[in-house]
Amino acid sequence: MNKTLIRVENLKKWFPLKRGFFASLFGSEVYVRAVDGISFNIYEGEIFGLAGESGSGKTTTGRLILRLIEPTEGKIYFEDTDITNLKSKELKPYRRRMQIIFQDPYESLNPRMTVYDIITEPLRVHKIGEGEEERLELAYKILESVQLIPPEEFLYRFPHELSGGQRQRVAIARALILRPKFIVADEPISMLDMSIRAEILNLMLNLKKEYGLTYLYITHDLATARYICDRIAIMYLGKIVELGSMDSVLENPLHPYTRALLAAVPVPDPDIKIGEIPIKGEIPSPINIPSGCRFHPRCPYAKEICRSKEPELKEIEYQHFVACHLYSNGR
């Protein structure tokens, strides 16, 4: 499992902020530093979680990896190939192998297209399949894989005739039909009802086995991340603050932010209550990022050095990384 499929190096995405004409004449450009220098690997066959609160840059990271938006700085590798600067023609074979499932199945499917048109569109774009017959066959197969059974009952329906869970299955089928290796799943269940979430998570796990997939699972929900992820990175204001195996991060969270996040998750057991949340306030705007460690204004342990120097992501335990000055003395 240790073969690297995706590698990201010092990835940055700064969105320029639109300002008034005069403000832009005098004074420097202002940026939203959505992703601000992150590096990680995703191994083949694993589910890598990217978790954080809104505004932490997790969705932007997913889109950068797929080259749906252009990075400001940094490198993206897919199976050792640097795909950061590939032109659209050169990128096309890679596009086939990397797909995305969006958050909201009510928004991500074209309401005027039938299920058949939706799931075979990628085939037409990539000119796969000789004629409609072969495409129909592929469509049948993929609908069976996502358990929309029998396929003929779903093929010619429109999205509005489907439930939320069924729509998300169609979105998954659309991502899968090109037989990708890597799928970015951006909050794939957050818009779905509780009773249906488990179904989609289990489907994703089954498909992973059946198709040999690797996922980047973007979420704000650590409970579902625990259910499906092998490793997880916790993001805060465009930086990774902690990265490790799901179990080690859960059992032994190192970063004060990770600890607060974990402490804040409600547990579906009336005997376990949320304890004191050790941090105050809310995530600041990514326009005015605090100096030094960007978490220091909310951190109960902040020292002098935290205000001035940005901590680096360091391996503290085996394969468990944290960016925090509390661990700087080689503990």
């Binding site: 009773s195 488990a198 650590l222 409600p266 547990v267 949320i274 949340i277």
Partner: protein, 323 residues
């Protein structure tokens, strides 16, 4: 006597094709100082139930029967004018879903809270503003921020303002409809803690409406599980989570992942919630229920009472729970 007692409440929406049976024979009690969680999936009628209790329904809503007794007085029989002046906000108030976006962007936050007070109480504007500042303090916001506009607050703080507004006239009951849905997990924890504190400080009764059972287990004493406009199971939070009896409740509980405890396989409930325009005959859950038989398909299950504050609506309760 319970503070609020809802009996056989029925509220349907009239649409071209018939009636959407959003609240269909709902019965529950709420005592003073108690927190009741109403859980269910989208479209099960839980928000409609809240609107019915306050009688703030759209024009096509029809209350078809039942009663809502607030200390013995039936709100459904009350004159609208008296209800508006004496009950709504003064006795029962509500924090709406996504409420933090309901603040008016062009008025100061303090003025908006004061407005709610002035509508119900005969006091001067200055007194109302003082009260607004106190309320802000109560929900953990510095009183000096009464002169700020909504855009100067973060999402979590705006939600606190909405809670302050709901408390403006010292109500006995606050209904919170998905109060934390749009919030991040740390902010959510802060708001839940605030609700808990306020409850004990003011001896408030709380009705918390949510699809997220974890939140209910966090702050509620009792739970009502709603499905297709009906409460299919009702009981103390402890009983519902530790010993769920209805197959739907069991399904819901085994579908939610937890960050603590042993990792287990999640089970999903097959199928989708029914269309309330044409709910299935008999037990509304039968098309998704693994135990359903011919009785379930034709007869509405009886309400089986198990002790003073626990009931379940199911034909097959013994079979489901023999294990």
């Amino acid at each position: 006597m319970p503070l609020l007692s809802v009996r056989d409440l029925k509220m349907f929406y009239q649409v071209e094709r018939g009636f959407v049976k959003a609240v269909n024979d709902v019965t529950f009690d709420l005592n003073r100082g108690e927190a009741l969680g109403i859980a269910g999936e989208s479209g099960c009628g839980k928000s409609s139930l809240a609107l019915t209790i306050l009688r703030i329904l759209p024009p096509n809503a029809r209350i078809m029967g039942g009663s809502i007794l607030l200390e013995g007085q039936d709100l459904l029989k009350m004159n609208e004018e008296i209800l508006r002046k004496e009950v709504r906000w003064k006795r029962i108030s509500i924090v709406f879903q996504g409420a933090m976006n309901a603040l008016n962007p062009v008025f100061k936050v303090g003025d908006q809270i004061a407005e709610a007070i002035l509508l119900h109480e005969n006091i001067s504007k200055d007194e109302a503003l003082d009260r607004a500042r106190e309320l802000l303090k109560l929900v953990g916001i510095s009183p000096s921020r009464a002169d700020n506009y909504p855009h100067e607050f973060s999402g979590g703080m705006r939600q606190r303002v909405m809670i302050a507004m709901a408390l403006a006239c010292n109500p006995d009951i606050v209904i919170a409809d998905e109060p934390t849905t749009a919030l991040d997990v740390i902010v959510q924890a802060q708001i839940l803690k605030l609700l808990k504190d306020l409850r004990s400080k003011l001896n408030l009764s709380l009705i918390l409406i949510t699809h997220d059972l974890s939140i209910i287990s966090e702050i509620c004493d009792k739970v009502a599980i709603m499905y297709a406009g009906k409460i299919v199971e009702y009981g103390s939070t402890h009983e519902i989570f530790k010993n769920p009896l209805h197959p739907y409740t069991q399904g819901l509980i085994s579908a939610i992942p937890s960050i603590r405890g042993p990792k287990r396989q999640l089970q999903s409930i097959p199928g989708t919630p029914p269309d309330l325009l044409n709910p299935p005959p008999g037990c509304p859950f039968h098309p998704r229920c693994p135990y359903a038989d011919s009785t379930c398909k034709s007869e509405i299950p009886p309400v089986i009472s198990l002790g003073r504050s626990r009931y379940v609506m199911c034909h097959k309760i013994e079979e489901v729970n023999e294990r």
